[in-house]
């Protein structure tokens, strides 16, 4: 049976020959609307900030409902209680002051970490020894949690900001260096050759061709580095708290937990998240919009 159908298929098909035709095409101007604006609702639904804002509102509503039902402010305060604790904290100037201390430490560690990462990566793209050094060090230190270095840092630098900065550098350095390096390696051969026919070489070549061409990867590294640094810093402050009378946000959280002011603990956590959201959603988004998205290197 199967063989019969096979032979049937192998019979040569010939298409029928049909008459030819040439047609007039309607000019686009007379076709009516070719492009039509979207409705307000559709445009709102296409706005990222609106969609994300709605998610935040949803979370707040669920939180409020659950906490009210639980009715145990000592372990889980309501959203409104947390908000008023936050307002008090800001009004008394405690939260802004703690935030300021934390941000100062953070920026210091982040900046030093970036500079060291840039030095390592430049070495790695120019020399083979540099490449080996970077990959070995990254393999060794990247998996090591920054917090695990804290006891050692305290031993070396004592209680205070230098220890925190040291831990932040460690958390930023390897992630950023790794991303920068793989970004440089992925720059296309054509772009490299084009740069060299323009007469660029050495440091000018790195600055004018490699860095902008690898910018998506570098930016990803900066974002990861930022997240690591922020997380590490808050955790480190929680662990060893105050230094020379100047505590940060982590210390604020720890302090209020000790006095069982849970709403204030939540307010502190909320501040940590708010800073995270601001840096991700405003600062990094702005950088992305002006660079990689504008250049078509990343979809937006």
């Amino acid at each position: 049976m199967v063989e019969i159908t096979m032979t049937e298929i192998s019979v040569k098909l010939t298409p029928p020959i049909r008459p030819e035709g040439e047609y007039d095409v309607t000019p686009p101007g007379t076709l009516g609307d070719v492009a039509k604006p979207l409705s307000l609702l559709e445009r709102l639904a296409n706005t990222t900030s609106v969609r994300r804002g709605l998610i935040l509102v949803g979370i707040a509503v669920v939180w409020q409902a659950y906490a009210t039902w639980l009715s145990n402010p000592l372990s889980f305060p309501t959203f409104t209680e947390t908000l008023s604790a936050l307002r008090d904290g800001i009004a008394s100037g405690v939260i802004p002051q703690r935030l300021w201390v934390t941000l100062q430490t953070l920026v210091m560690g982040y900046a030093i970490g970036l500079v060291i990462a840039a030095v390592f990566t430049s070495l790695a793209v120019t020399t083979r020894l540099g490449t080996d050094l970077l990959s070995t060090l990254t393999a060794m230190f990247n998996p090591l949690p920054a917090i695990a270095l804290l006891p050692l840092a305290l031993l070396w630098f004592g209680l205070g900001r230098p220890s925190l900065v040291f831990v932040i550098i460690h958390s930023v350095l390897w992630a950023v260096a790794l991303n920068m390096h793989s970004g440089f390696l992925s720059v296309s051969e054509t772009l490299r050759m084009a740069g060299r026919t323009f007469g660029l070489s050495g440091f000018r070549f790195v600055r004018k061709i490699l860095i902008p061409a690898a910018f998506p990867a570098i930016l990803a590294g900066l974002k990861i580095g930022w997240a690591f640094a922020w997380r590490t810093l808050i955790a480190a402050e929680l662990v060893f708290g105050v230094s020379s009378g100047q505590g940060g946000l982590g210390w604020y959280i720890f302090e209020n937990r000790n006095t069982l002011d849970t709403a204030a603990v939540f307010a502190g956590l909320l501040t940590v998240m708010a800073v995270g959201l601001f840096v991700e959603g405003v600062i990094f988004r702005a950088i992305e919009a002006r660079t990689v998205r504008r250049w078509g290197m990343q979809r937006g």
């Binding site: 296309s188 054509t190 772009l191 050759m193 084009a194 060299r196 026919t197 323009f198 007469g199 660029l200 000018r204 004018k208 061709i209 902008p212 061409a213 910018f215 660079t291 504008r294 250049w295 078509g296 290197m297």
Partner: protein, 276 residues
Amino acid sequence: MAMVQRKPPLAASIDPTAAPASQPVLTVDGVTLQYKTPDHLVTATYRVGFDIHPADRLVLLGPSGCGKSTLLKAIAGFLKPVEGSISLKGEPVTGPGPDRMMVFQEFDQLLPWKSVRENVAFPMLENRVPRAEAEARALDAIAKVNLTKFVDVYPHMLSGGMKQRVAIARAMAMRPDVLLMDEPYAALDALTRRKMQEELLQLWEDVRFTLIFVTHSIEEAVLVGSRVVVLSPHPGQVRAELNCHHLDVRHQDGPEFQLLTRRISQMLFEDKSVGH
């Protein structure tokens, strides 16, 4: 084929008593090129030699793998010959430089972080052309490739053909001694390719630049070139040097054009059958 005559290779140095019409801009003399793959040392070309004179449109034609792109990279300065020499205006080529601007086949040769105008001006600004002059030359070159409407657009918003036009404008605006093109139209669709070939010839009518053009298409070689260097398959050697300055788009369906393309394809085909 008996009717194909082998021409003697051109002498690298020109006899001063012969009163030449022009001095060659670029001389390729007995160049052997080799490159390393992880487990082989590959000879790409073997003792290749030819001259390029001002306003020549020299086409390097050959089957894929004949080393024509490698040869162009050596002329650009990315590769050192193991034997022979490449010299530009009497000076040996030692490395890449803006006196030999190159247009690549790939569309990603434009800098994505610069607009069309900035891309075209960039090599000039990096080579100490004053800003005002660089801007003016960039706009002029962009106008010549018909992209004036797109001066402030970023490369990712352009089509493949437009990107190649920008690359050509960028190379031309630099006013190099020799313009190198490595299969610049190979990744384009047939209609766009045809249009770009005609535009290139029109540009040459205006500007009279010196061009070395690499292709594996016989039609494109005869159409674009004023002189064709036919390379034999791997490793590339000069199989023929042919003139086609008198043939352009208008002659494409004519007998002379057909005869020449057939002659070249016989050369390539015959060599191929010997090789296998």
